[in-house]
């Protein structure tokens, strides 16, 4: 009885030094509450923890619950205590308590009921200062959240690969990029198989090198996501070293969706290529203008200068004739240049589906006489590709040009055979025109063959402008033209549309 009474008013922890040492070591404070009265008996340590110097507050159960416990935590705490009194369920919570300075701090509160036979129940509780730990946890959560948000915005995720035992983890963002669910746990093989076929050996080599040699990698490759989207990604990896042995135990890295940037980059490169080629053509054009026009202008001034000195009337008439010739030449050059400009700028010319046999028929009609005269045989085969999307006028002009060149440069000793056929290569239509004529020495003239005003055989009716126009017409619509030839064997032209 006496021990029970003693306990009621004066719990052990108030006197016992052991308890005091324990409280100090644990940053804890002990207190006792009863089920059926408002008493709250606490230790000095308890007061200190709440910022009150030794026993300066009048503490009652109601004061504790109404003034000190954080309002939102009050109900949970009361319930837990009730549960403990009634069913002995252990009470252990993390709550906030108001300290003397007026700030709420985090404490762990734990308690357990001591049943006294035939008497009221008492609960022995402790509060432990966990404020620092909780604040760190909150800061960490905030950091993680910010990191996740940043990762989402930049489409960057992190991944880790350990070798012993093998374990690959992907962060949420890496899963998003691959368009798989958040909890997707791939093995290394599955992860690598997301990459496009040409990229697979590259990433495999990189991971192997990182694991065996410790070489970091930074690669831009293509993957195919779970929804079959092909996107460009950047994969970086660095080896993970064991802290003690410094051995390589894995690789970790960053994974980023760079699809948008990559496509912009590729588009810029494409534009640069186009601009460079346009520039080259412009320079060419300017050179042609300056040279050819000047040649005629020079002749004009020379002829006029001569006229002032010329005394012979016969010569004078010839000079006038020359003036007429110069004027005609000037006009012609200007016409050629105009055609050239038109061919360069009219890339918005409507492409139509042109049946090749019709175009060839037109050409054969125009060149009827020459074909008959030279007894040439035309082998025409468009079965592999019957039609081409092109500007009809250009296609006819191209076929006409190749055919008439073949006729012009035929070998007088060999009956001329011209083969004109179409085909499909790599999904794109191609046209080939070959003959068994005089051929061209490409080692000598290879670069000049498509130049303006370039001829190689001294033919009187060779103007030298046909191939130049053809090349421009083909290239202005995005095609490519190439030539193969051997002197005295023949020539073959190939156009890729």
């Amino acid at each position: 009885m006496r021990s029970m009474n003693k306990n009621l008013e004066h719990p052990d922890f108030l006197e016992n030094e052991h308890f005091k040492l324990l409280e100090q070591a644990l940053h804890a404070g002990l207190f006792q509450i009863s089920e059926n009265n408002d008493n709250l008996i606490c230790s000095p340590a308890f007061c200190e923890l709440l910022g009150y110097p030794n026993n300066t507050i009048n503490l009652s159960k109601s004061f504790f619950f109404d003034q000190l416990v954080f309002p939102a935590d009050k109900e949970i705490l009361l319930k837990a205590i009730q549960n403990n009194f009634q069913s002995g369920k252990h009470c252990l919570l993390e709550i906030q308590l108001l300290n003397k300075a007026g700030a709420y701090k985090w404490f762990k509160i734990a308690g357990n009921t001591k049943q006294t036979t035939g008497g009221p129940a008492y609960m022995l509780c402790s509060i432990t200062d966990i404020n620092e730990r909780v604040e760190q946890k909150i800061a960490l959560q905030k950091s993680e959240h910010l990191l996740e948000e940043a990762g989402k915005m930049a489409r960057v995720g992190v991944w880790e690969l350990y070798t012993n035992p093998p374990l690959l983890t992907w962060s949420k963002e890496v899963c998003h990029i691959h368009e798989v669910p958040d909890n997707f746990t791939p093995d290394l093989n599955t992860a690598i198989n997301f990459y496009s076929p040409p990229a697979i050996p590259i990433i495999q080599q990189a991971v192997n090198d990182a694991l065996s040699l410790g070489t970091p990698f930074d690669l831009e490759l293509k993957i195919c996501t779970a929804t079959q989207k092909e996107i460009w990604v950047r994969a970086l990896g660095k080896p993970i070293l064991d802290k003690k042995s410094k051995k390589i135990i894995g690789v970790r890295g960053v994974f980023q969706d760079i699809n948008e940037q990559k496509e912009k980059e590729l588009a810029i490169n494409e534009s640069t290529k186009i601009i460079t080629s346009q520039n080259k053509r412009l320079v060419n054009f300017a050179h042609i203008v300056s040279h050819n026009l000047r040649a005629h202008a020079a002749n004009l001034s020379l002829t006029l200068e001569l006229e002032s000195d010329e005394t012979d009337p016969v010569e004078k008439t010839e000079l006038q004739e020359n003036l007429r010739k110069i004027s005609a030449s000037l006009n012609e050059t200007i016409t050629h240049l105009t055609d050239l400009v038109v061919a360069q700028t009219e890339t918005h010319e409507i492409k139509k589906r042109v049946p090749l046999d019709k175009a060839m028929q037109l050409v054969e009609d125009v060149l009827q006489a020459e074909i008959r005269e030279s007894s040439a045989t035309l082998k025409v085969n468009f079965t592999k590709c019957k039609e081409i999307d092109f500007v009809p006028a250009y296609l006819e002009s191209i076929l006409l040009n190749f055919t008439s060149n073949a006729l012009k440069y035929r070998n007088p000793n060999v009956p001329l055979v011209i083969t004109i056929e179409s085909d499909i290569e790599a999904g794109k239509p191609i046209l080939q025109v070959s003959d068994n004529g005089l051929g061209i020495d490409l080692t000598k003239h290879g670069e000049q063959i498509f130049g303006m005003y370039k001829t190689f055989h001294g033919n009187a009716n060779a103007r030298g402008i046909g191939l130049f126009m053809t090349k421009n017409q083909v290239e202005s619509l995005g095609g490519k033209i190439s030539v193969e030839s051997e002197p005295n064997k023949g020539t073959a032209f190939k156009i890729r549309f």
């Binding site: 050179h287 300056s290 040279h291 050819n292 000047r294 040649a295 020079a298 002749n299 001034s301 020379l302 002829t303 200068e305 001569l306 000195d309 010329e310 005394t311 010569e315 010839e318 000079l319 020359n322 010739k325 110069i326 030449s329 005003y453 370039k454 001829t455 190689f456 055989h457 001294g458 030298g464």
Partner: protein, 131 residues
């Protein structure tokens, strides 16, 4: 006067050849003007007459932009032949459009005495034949 001089014009521009030849004749700058429209023909002539100093030209005007072989091709051929020729020739290169690159290239060859812009004026010709 320089009546003994032989001049070559290597150019495929008929009008230019006609006018220049006539001008030279009117001003009596030299005895004869031969014309070749291709490098091949001109070089063939040199090869055939390389031992005869009377038949080798004193002055050669050649246009850079010819259709088959160019003026520079002629220069290269001539350089190979020059040691075998019975007489030295002064070569003048012509063009309707001069470029610095061409001018610089011309200075490499000692037998290229000048690089001129077309058209050739009376004054140009007078200077050339005076030397």
């Amino acid at each position: 006067m320089h009546n003994k001089l032989l001049t070559f014009l290597i150019d495929d521009d008929e009008i230019f050849v006609f006018a220049t030849k006539r001008l030279i004749q009117l001003k009596n700058f030299c005895k004869d003007v031969y014309h070749f429209s291709t490098v091949a023909e001109a070089i063939a002539y040199f090869k055939n007459h390389k031992k005869n100093p009377d038949l080798i030209p004193d002055v050669v005007f050649i246009d850079i932009n010819l259709k088959a072989e160019t003026g520079w091709d002629f220069i290269n051929h001539y350089e190979e032949l020059s040691s075998e020729l019975a007489k030295e020739t002064h070569i003048y290169m012509l063009s309707a459009s001069l470029s610095h690159a061409d001018l610089e290239k011309a200075t490499q060859y000692p037998f290229v005495k000048g690089f001129l812009n077309k058209p050739l004026s009376k004054e140009n010709l007078a200077q050339i034949f005076a030397s």
